[in-house]
Symmetry: D2
Subunit: 342 residues, 4 copies
């Protein structure tokens, strides 16, 4: 059994890790830390865990994280970079669900997260935890930067087109929509029920933190720079990301076959039949990303629809998928949830 | 034209006052204050007002509130009691939408609001602003305490039964449900979308601030004390209060007729046909309270269903109704909105 | 492995049975019938099942249901009573998720469901499938009538009070609220999004089909008739039942201890700490019923709050719980889902 | 006073017409027809109208529509084309809220609506009712085809760019999102609450009925054909359209100024400050379309955000706006609603 620790268990990605790991056949939850809630039974904060998880939140300093085999950081940006180096030195593998180990470019890190990076050496060795792109490197990694939720949907949706070099790399558009839980568990007016329910809006059109991560990943897959216009929106739903991706074909190709082949061996990518419109609820609570490809009118425009659960394939599920790879387990271990529908 | 000021225009009751007053044929908005947002155009905070309301928030001290004919306090509890006395002394009429002038009993005030009352003399003269109960007194009042949203629904629903003395006064139950906007416009985890959507729960079962106000009002109508069990719940909707009221008949009576007669002249009470189930959306944005009376199986149990919009008849609309009375205007002036449905 | 069939797999209780049974370690899904959709892969109708369930809907007549060990009827009222007798005769155990085998009283059946009962003899032997009440009888049953969702919440919430004979049996009130999925998967204006979202209302105040079932169950537990006033409401949420139960104590007792003792060995009843307010999301997707007991002001009124997921403990999960009992399996087999939160 | 009739008052656009016209100072509602509900008081179907609208639904044949000055058709596609000619011949002006008089091209009509057009001559004279494009022609029209909701948002958002000829006309993309009420008031599984709440999906990617209408309008504004990729999505909200529009600049220009100038005299277009993100709730219940223009990174890509209420500016409000023009009234008469927020 792998001994697992979670730093920062009071957010949505933390409680989702607990939900997934509780059922994981080869991982054992050792410790969950919270500076603010040390001593409180976790199930007091999250009654959904009553009768299942009986751990208490631990004080981070005294938690014995260095005795774990793997530690997840489900913390705000900037925490993992301070604490991961000592753990990695102690032989503990680390997966950060925040952004600290996603961006190799230190200038971009500083620009988008407004702080100096505290562990540039460890960053240099960190692997970007998108298994469909970096499976082998994740398997050998000591530290993984878990992708952002938008970034997962957008990259998975564009990947076959980019790898096959069939679209104009300077004209990619990602019109993405996310449920409100993507903003995290916090007291903030902008995500209050009365501000977001029965409402819809774009945000961050001038620029969004997930943008450099997507451009970097897709550029890597292309072997050349890509230009991507990314516009996120807020859906009045709890979970779910829907990415509507637009590209311009530069040569003819059977795209349905392209996608089916590219993802044939991927356990968590479901290429839907031609003509499909995946809905976010079809992946609610599951680690699957469902993708459909359209070519309206048979012309040179491609529309890719990709959906995932931002807290599972977009966060905690993907992190567990990486954990499985890092310890040589079955990649899908503990991740066979059927979506909750309706 | 009545010159109107609003103290504290950044909450939901404030913006709802602006929506209503903007269309009011005999009131003119002079000033809206906000300590934190002084200088900002109101429509920058509430884009729904763009092109209509072109006032800016004013610094309270320099706002010239004493030049108004009437000032609404749409502030947190405890603000009006500090500021209303000087205004009333200056001849300005005051309506407080918070609780400062609702409870005549100072011990209860202290118990439920955890502060000393700053204006006990003014409180003694304040009128409880439920027109269906206190119309004449409101018309003569210098200061009005606008009822709580739950309190309005529960009192209006029970009133005919209590006045006619046909139910057991020791066995009243109010199972009430409110949309999330009743909690106000604020940064608070408990009202975040991801915490309240697709969810339902009771709260405050051991005790709720609106309870003394209801018991006082109903007791006054009865001429004797009443016992009321009040259980509030949170609906995953923005607006709307639904009160399901239970009482035990102590003698036979045609209740449908009782209610129709009692409210025959009330412009904002709609007694629905026997057998009806009013829904909250049927009053969304309007000042109407719709009521239906049931007597399941024809027995001695009564079930009253009462719905209203917590921000209109439960707050700002009712306050404007009182204003109309205080200035001798048509009681419904500015309040003829049809509910927004769907 | 138990061979399982499902008659009528196109509704919400059907797809929920599929979600649960797919993970069940000792049950194997053999056949799912649908008259209207025979031949269609189930996952074409429910994309959430893609990559998991690869069965097709079968024509009921040719489905070979008689070769199953157990057949669930997830059909409209009136179907199971026509088809269950032949299956039971063939040695197949049957659990009906509709109402055909819930009401022993044929007059009430006719009154509420407007049809003659087609299998009165089998009805006479049928066991009401509430394990917390009838565990031993379910274990020996050939046919089980699975309780209604409201009926489960109301009976579980009142049971300890009734069994201990500490409340006035003539003054029980159940103010219950249900998510919209309780109405089933169908084309009906009244459950359209634009009719139910941002809205709240009571319905069926004059009478509801679940009432006789609750009165019968609670009366059986009391050994004497009970009177229950039941008022259902529609929550703008997908899943979740919240029952707010009111009773009048006829003698003093430590209710928290009463409930904790009564349910100490129940795997799916969670008695929460005194003062709690359970929310429906804390059981979303799980088979748990969470209960909290209040005695406001320490007086003689009791308020019980009970929540469950209408499609799990209120339908398909409870049916699987009965199946486990009928085949001598661990009662919780296949039912260890943690609620999906948020 | 203009005498107004409504054919088909049982849908959402019908009840919204009633809400708007009831307050209209210069229009008087004479008759509302419904084949299925003739004789029923309208307020029995829509309790939101109780105490305001006291008309009953009339049998269409006997309704005396020919005595009206103007008749709105709030009917399914195909009804107005059968009935409008006789009314127009009788001197009654007609506004059709369905599609019968939107598409001048009969082949496209047949392709998208699967029926022969019954009144091609009248269609030839019909004016497309987008005041911002066709104000003068509407003022002189005998018959107006009211634009589709998506079509209104998309055309208003693109119009300044197209008229100024500053974008590549072959690369327009409209990623549009609509609340569920856009699908109408009907019994249909796909719009049931449990199917659409907490969910998000695209639909009609291969083709949508509003597409020819948009291409025709924008092509007319350009004086040359345009190519537009249109992808609609379903928001789990009741009202609201959000169009996210993408275009490629072919020369530099100050777009903020372009939009502000183009719409300077438009009473119902609100060009927001640079950098804004309009939300759909800011127009809920109002006839305003709010627009914001972005040029991320200052490059050659333009992102336009346009929001409107699909039942007001996207349907009934726009129809009343056209009525005002047709009768020489103030264009905004009866349309000064402030959005209901929150």
């Amino acid at each position: 059994m792998i001994k697992v620790g979670i730093v920062g268990g009071t957010g949505y990605t933390g409680v989702e890790l607990l939900r997934i790991l509780w059922n994981h056949p080869e991982a054992e939850l050792q410790v969950v830390t919270s500076r603010s809630e040390a001593g409180m039974p976790i199930a007091d904060m999250f009654p959904s865990l009553r009768g299942k998880v009986d751990l208490k939140f631990s004080e981070p300093k005294k938690a014995g994280l260095e005795d774990c085999d793997l530690v997840f950081f489900a913390t705000p940006h900037g925490v993992a970079m301070d604490n991961a180096p000592a753990l990695v030195d102690a032989g503990v593998k680390v997966i950060d669900l925040a952004a600290d180990f996603r961006l190799q470019n230190l200038l971009q890190w500083r620009k988008w997260y407004q702080m100096e990076h505290a562990a540039p050496e460890l960053l240099a060795e960190a692997v970007y935890g998108l298994p469909e792109m970096n499976r082998d490197r994740i398997a050998r990694a000591r530290i993984v930067g878990n992708p952002g939720c938008y970034a997962t949907a957008v990259q998975l949706g564009f990947l076959p087109l980019i790898e096959a070099d069939v679209v104009d790399r300077s004209r990619l558009i990602a019109d993405a929509k996310s449920g409100v839980s993507g903003a995290g568990r916090k007291a903030e007016l902008g995500i209050a029920f009365s501000e977001t329910a029965d409402n819809f809006r774009a945000y961050g059109v001038p620029g969004h933190r997930h943008h450099p991560e997507m451009v970097h990943g897709l550029g890597g897959a292309a072997g050349r720079p890509v230009e991507l216009l990314f516009v996120p929106h807020l859906i009045p739903s709890i979970r779910g990301i829907h990415a509507t991706l637009y590209a311009h074909l530069n040569r003819d190709m059977d795209l349905q076959t392209l996608y089916e082949k590219r993802f044939a061996d991927e356990p968590f990518i479901d290429v839907m039949p031609a003509g499909s419109h995946p809905d976010t609820r079809s992946v609610r609570g599951s680690n699957t990303c469902r993708i459909a490809i359209h070519r309206p009118g048979g012309g040179d425009k491609v529309v890719v629809l990709a959906v995932l659960d931002n807290l599972v394939k977009g966060a905690s599920g993907q992190a567990v998928q990486s954990m499985n790879l890092m310890f040589g387990l079955d990649e899908g271990s503990g991740l066979d949830h059927i979506a909750l529908m309706p």
